[in-house]
C-alpha cells in the first residue's frame, strides 16, 4: 500500500500511512454504521429497542433517502 508517489519535484502528493489512519477509520466507521442503522433500518426489519418511536420520528427521511421503510 505504501506506494510512495515518486513525485516530480514541483508537486509532491502527501499520503497518510495506514497505521495512522486505521484507528480513526475503525472508530468512526463503527459510529457511522451505528447512526446509519438507527436512521435507515431500526424498528423496521429489526427492532432495538422494541417499539416504533425511532421509526416514526425518522419516517419521512427514511422514505426520501431511499431506505426500505415498511
Amino acid at each position: 500500500m505504501s506506494q510512495v508517489t515518486t513525485a516530480t519535484p514541483e508537486i509532491e502528493i502527501p499520503s497518510i500511512p495506514l497505521r495512522e489512519l486505521a484507528p480513526w477509520a475503525l472508530f468512526f466507521g463503527l459510529i457511522g454504521a451505528f447512526i446509519l442503522f438507527f436512521i435507515s433500518a431500526d424498528q423496521g426489519a429489526v427492532s432495538i429497542p422494541a417499539g416504533t418511536a425511532i421509526h416514526e420520528w425518522v419516517h419521512d427521511g427514511r422514505h426520501l433517502l431511499g431506505f426500505p421503510c415498511h
Binding site: Q3, A45, T52, W57, L64, L65, P68
Partner: protein
C-alpha cells in the same frame, strides 16, 4: 494532512449537506409523501395482499401499539433528524475514505482524489442501489415483506460498494502498465459488469399495485434529488475544505524548507 484534519472537515461538510438536504427533501419530497399518505389513508391500500396488517407508520391516524408522531413533526424535525444524522455519518465516512485515497490514486491532487471519492460514493452507495431498489413512498410496500426487502436492499448496497472498492484497486493495478485511459475504462466496465449481473440476479420487488403512477414518479424524483443533494454537497464542501487545507500546508512546508535551506 492527518486523519483528524480529514474527519473534522468531513463532519462539517456532512452537517452542511444534511441541512441543505433537509431543505431539498422538504420542498421536493414532502408534497408527494403527503399525497402518498392520502392514498394510504383513503383505505385503498393498493398492495396485493396487504390489508390484513396495516403498517404502523405514516402519521397520526392509525397505529395500534406504536408511538404517535404527528405529520407536522415527521415532515420537519423528524426529517431534519434523519437528513442531518445521515449527512454527518456519510460526511465522516467519505472524509476518511478520502484520507485513505490521498496520494494513492494515480497522481491526483488531494482535492481531486477527494472529489473522486465522493463521486464514486454517490454512484455506489446511493445511485446504483436506487436503480435496483428505488425508494418507495408510504402506501407502497407490503409490511409483511419489510424483512426481505431490507435484506435485499442492503445486500445490493454491499455488492455495489465492494465492487466499487475492487474496481478502484483494479484501476491502481492497471494504471502503470496500461495508462489512465485503459485503466479507467477497464475498471469502470468491471464495476458495471458486477452490479448489472447482481441486479439481474437479485429478486425484483413490485408491490406497487394500483398506486398512482404520477405520485410514484414525483416521489422518486424527489428522493433522487434528496440523495443527490446529500452526496453532492458533501463532495463539494469537502473538496473545497481539503483543497484549502492542502494549499495552507504546502505553503507552511515551503516556508519550512526555505528556512532550513538558509
Amino acid at each position: 494532512m492527518t486523519p483528524r484534519n480529514f474527519l473534522v472537515r468531513g463532519l462539517l461538510a456532512g452537517l452542511i449537506a444534511g441541512i441543505l438536504t433537509f431543505a431539498v427533501a422538504y420542498i421536493a419530497g414532502e408534497p408527494s409523501v403527503d399525497a402518498a399518505i392520502k392514498v394510504e389513508s383513503a383505505g385503498e391500500t393498493p398492495h396485493a395482499h396487504g390489508q390484513s396488517a396495516p403498517a404502523t407508520h405514516g402519521g397520526d391516524h392509525h397505529d395500534e401499539n406504536g408511538t404517535v408522531v404527528s405529520r407536522q413533526n415527521q415532515s420537519t424535525w423528524g426529517l431534519a433528524t434523519a437528513t442531518i444524522s445521515t449527512g454527518v455519518a456519510f460526511g465522516g465516512i467519505v472524509a476518511l475514505a478520502a484520507a485513505f485515497a490521498l496520494g494513492r490514486i494515480g497522481r491526483l491532487r488531494p482535492s481531486q482524489s477527494t472529489a473522486l471519492v465522493a463521486a464514486l460514493g454517490f454512484v455506489s452507495v446511493a445511485l446504483v442501489p436506487f436503480i435496483k431498489y428505488p425508494a418507495t413512498p408510504p402506501a407502497v410496500g407490503n409490511a409483511d415483506t419489510i424483512g426481505s426487502r431490507t435484506t435485499q436492499y442492503f445486500v445490493m448496497l454491499a455488492i455495489s460498494v465492494l465492487a466499487m472498492i475492487a474496481a478502484v484497486l483494479l484501476f491502481r493495478k492497471l494504471l502503470d502498465r496500461f495508462g489512465t485511459y485503459t485503466a479507467v475504462l477497464t475498471s469502470a466496465a468491471a464495476y458495471l459488469a458486477v452490479v448489472i449481473l447482481a441486479g439481474a440476479l437479485m429478486p425484483t420487488v413490485n408491490e406497487i399495485g394500483d398506486f398512482p403512477g404520477d405520485t410514484l414518479w414525483y416521489f422518486r424524483r424527489g428522493s433522487l434529488m434528496t440523495l443527490a443533494t446529500l452526496w453532492g454537497v458533501i463532495g463539494i464542501a469537502l473538496t473545497g475544505l481539503i483543497g484549502k487545507l492542502y494549499v495552507q500546508e504546502s505553503a507552511t512546508q515551503a516556508r519550512r524548507d526555505l528556512a532550513a535551506s538558509l
